[in-house]
Amino acid sequence: MNTPLRRVGLAMLGMIILLLANATYIQIIKADDYREDPRNQRVLLEEYSRERGKILARGANNQAQMLATVLPTNDRLRYLRQYTAGPTFAPVTGFYSVRYGAGGLERAEDEILNGSDDRLFVRRLSDLITGRDPRGGNIELTINPAAQTAAYDAMAKAGFAGSVVALNPKTGEILAMVSTPSYDPNTLSAHDGAAQEKAWKDYNADKRKPMLNRAVSETYAPGSTFKLVIAAAALEDGKSKDDQVTSTDRLQVGGSELRNYNRGFCNGTPNGVSMEVALSLSCNTAFAQLAGDLGPEKVGKQAAEFGIGESDLTVPMRVEQSCIGPATACMSVGDKAALMQTGIGQRDVRLTPLQNAQIVATIANGGERMRPQLVKSVLAPDLSEISRLDTDSLGRVMSRDAAGQLRDMMVASEGKTGGDGKRDGLTIASKTGTAETGNDPKNTPPFAWYVAFAPADDPKIAVAVVVESQDVAATGGKLSAAIGRATIAAALGGG
């Protein structure tokens, strides 16, 4: 009887070996498939229960200000994501929700924040050995909390919908990125599922789109601020700021007439004006004519050099493509009539506030365009630095001389611009814009723009403000200039 018993013993071993082989297949060979199956909640739950990294910014005196932190909790998710001054910084931080995923920087830098980024590997390993729970890395932003807060408060207090973007012209660091109306990311990270759902539904149902990050995800007709691009193209084409341009009160463009804002001659004279005067008075006929004379190639080339038409820019959030042509042919302006309208920032021209900020920042930086960036440094959980921002030049857009002339033209323009917030001893170079919008532009409130940099002789901040105004008679000067100047003042500090 022993022979069959031995055989049965062997069969038992065979069964176990089958089980082991199958377990090897399931747990080693197919493991990644199962782990990454979208229906497998484990990885997600694991990620949410990890101590997520902080998002911080440094203000005056190099004081760190926490924008997003975690609070240990006693429930299954273990940590509650908290945002200080949530609505102010929401366009920067984004949100982090168990049910609705993440947005903004929370999504763009998720791998760092949740600790799975390869750069954190060595630290993860040491956490594993020391038995400490793995933690996420921290993100330090380029944001200047004072400028961001000033810009947001000014916009929110006035009840404006719109955006403010401020850049450091020399480095491309994003100093402020405001979008109003905003939302409170704390409501989306709440662990109470019902509260989370309600907030999400309310925000999405709101017609004013509080969760839209207007700074990078929305495009606006730039109006007269686009004259800077035309002026740059003209200066690059060999003109100077003192060269005469037309001052006519009307131009025949296609089937319609193009007129100046005041419906009269530019500077009150039919005999031509200098380009500087034309820009400072924002004469439409002069720049429509200039654009028409330059031709589509030169205008398009200049626009492209400023970054218009780029579809792959990330800061690290993806930036919507800005265009001078229709959506189907982003960089091509149809006929000459279209080109002339493009010259004053109408027709199909649409820019993100960040794009417009880049244009003034480039002028401020002597014609060299810097890559806009939001992340100053990536820090390990113990706050040691893992990587730091590299300033990245995106190339020379215009000569230093042309940029200087354009700066002088903008200083003159600021002199002609009204609104609150002017300060003695601070020279600002700026341009306003009032862009017509909609199918019935005369009865639709315009977009009011203000783009500027300061101090003019040694620029430290470049800013673009756009307000989706409620008032049909609004102009850039009245509405946006005050907000822009407040942002500049906050960034430059009390003095």
Binding site: M1, T3, M15, I16, Q27, L45
Partner: protein, 489 residues
């Protein structure tokens, strides 16, 4: 049935083993040491769960570990007294499995409690009940060890066992659903108040004892060849009785109780015992043919069998169907997430798999301890079953051999069916993992199984005092030949 038990099937039996040495060590010290090791591993596992779940460690764990050791120390003392030559590895293996099962059930309790708290529901924890069952099971273990002083005495009651086993097996199917409710699609439970029992678990072992005794007594009949067809000796038609009987019982369980697992276990084990008793592989071939035939018929008749097979082929495809592959898919997700090293005890999400603390406990272990943990667990089962098999090889009587072999195979068969089901090697049939899963009946029955194995192993290693040096019978002096005897120098 009272027929005499055959002694030693062949000259090889037992003699190859060292157990016939009169001075054979009992190895009880080894057993105690290994029990201590098992208690240590279980305490460490509990500590990991506490560390990962609550982040606070108290001296409580030490006391729990000690209490666990104490419980098994009682079993150890009983073995020392009532089966001193029993195999020293069997009890520690069982202690380790039982202990890890308790830790895992506790760990899943924690997760379920948290889930219930959030949903604002009350929940009954399973681990106190399982601890109670473990204590009761150990008491039953002692009782079997004390009452059954010699496993051969079981043959006297084999027909009684067979009858009782059949009745137990059939009971839930014929009782009204008030006391025999249908749970998870199977009508195999008896319920009285808070207690529920699966009589089928005990029936398995009773029927196994019956079959072992029956086969031993009728062994010669089975050895007789019937007609020879195509070079194969077919059994005689009337000898087919036991196979047909086992087949019918299995089919009955399958049809009336919809319990695929028990049916598979029962049939497989009987087949193996038949093979061991007759040493003829034709029984296995015949049995497998019957099984395949039955399976094909069942597949065509019952939609729930078709569903199971579909879930087995591709659980991810039937993931969202009612009665579909959700459960197996969740188990696979858990196993995949665990990977080689596992998430760590208490750090995974085994509660996402339905029935995580019973049928799917192997998935929970595979998730939190990884492939390494699952493999180690399978090897503990293997050691346990092979020690049983070794005892069966070494024991001198055919009944002991057959019973020991059958019980050992039953153990591995259970592991194969449940772990294979969870890991998608075979269709899921829904049985418990021996000693690991939550469930009193399975635990009690498996402890009886272990008590019997220990009894057989004791008999196998026990020195044959008195019987062994029995002198060769002397021929009567009148018939004796004259023998020259040389004076020793």
């Amino acid at each position: 049935m009272g027929s005499p038990v055959q002694q030693g099937a062949g000259p090889a039996a037992g003699q190859s083993s060292a157990s016939n040495d009169p001075a054979a060590p009992t190895r009880r010290g080894t057993e105690l040491l290994l029990l201590g090791f098992a208690a240590f591993v279980v305490s460490a596992a509990l500590m990991l769960v506490e560390a990962n779940q609550e982040q606070q460690l108290t001296l409580r764990i030490f006391w729990y570990g000690l209490a666990f050791l104490g419980l098994f120390a009682v079993a150890h003392v009983a073995v020392r007294k009532f089966a001193p030559y029993a195999d020293p590895l069997i009890l520690p293996c069982v202690a380790l499995l039982n202990g890890l099962g308790l830790v895992m059930i506790y760990r899943i309790d924690l997760a379920m409690t948290e889930k219930a708290l959030r949903a604002g529901r009350e929940i009954n924890n399973d681990v106190p009940k399982q601890i109670l069952w473990t204590t009761v099971a150990l008491a039953l273990f002692l009782a079997v060890l004390i009452v059954v002083k010699d496993h051969r005495t079981l043959t006297k009651y084999s027909y009684t066992f067979g009858l009782v086993g059949l009745v137990l097996l059939a009971l839930p199917a014929f009782l009204p659903s008030v006391i025999a409710p249908t749970i998870n699609g199977a009508k195999i439970w008896l319920k009285a108040g808070p207690f529920s029992l699966q009589p089928g678990e005990f029936a398995k072992i009773l029927l196994l004892v019956f079959f072992a005794a029956f086969l031993v007594s009728k062994r010669d009949l089975f050895m007789a060849a019937g007609r020879r067809v195509l070079g194969v000796d077919l059994p005689r038609a009337r000898d087919l009785g036991p196979v047909v009987f086992a087949w019918a019982v299995s089919l009955g369980v399958l049809v009336f109780q919809k319990d695929l697992g028990t049916s598979l276990l029962f049939f497989g084990t009987i087949l193996v015992m038949l093979y061991v008793a007759t040493e003829r592989a034709v029984w296995v071939v015949l049995g497998l043919t019957l099984f395949v035939g039955g399976a094909v018929v069942a597949y065509n008749l019952f939609t729930h069998v078709q569903q199971r097979v579909a879930n087995w082929f591709d659980p991810l495809a039937t993931y969202a169907d009612a009665g579909g592959g959700y459960q197996i898919a969740q188990a696979l997700f858990g196993l995949g997430t665990g990977g080689v090293g596992g998430t760590g005890l208490g750090a995974g999400r085994p509660e996402l798999v339905p029935l995580a603390n019973t049928d799917f406990i192997a998935a929970a272990i595979g998730e939190e301890l990884g492939f390494i943990g699952l493999a180690a667990l399978l090897l503990v089962y293997t050691v346990l079953a092979l020690r049983g098999m070794r005892s069966a090889l070494a024991v001198r009587d055919t009944f002991g051999k057959l019973l020991g072999g059958g019980l050992s195979f039953l153990l591995i068969m259970q592991v194969f069916v449940v772990v294979g089901g969870v890991t998608k090697l075979i269709p899921m049939t829904g049985i418990t993992a021996p000693f690991l899963s939550y469930g009193g009946s399975s635990l009690l029955a498996n402890y009886v199984l272990i008590a019997l194995l220990l009894r057989i192993s004791d008999a196998a290693r026990r020195p044959q005092t008195g019987a062994r040096p029995r002198p060769v019978p002397q021929a009567p002096i009148a018939e004796a030949h004259t023998v020259m005897v040389e004076r020793p120098t």
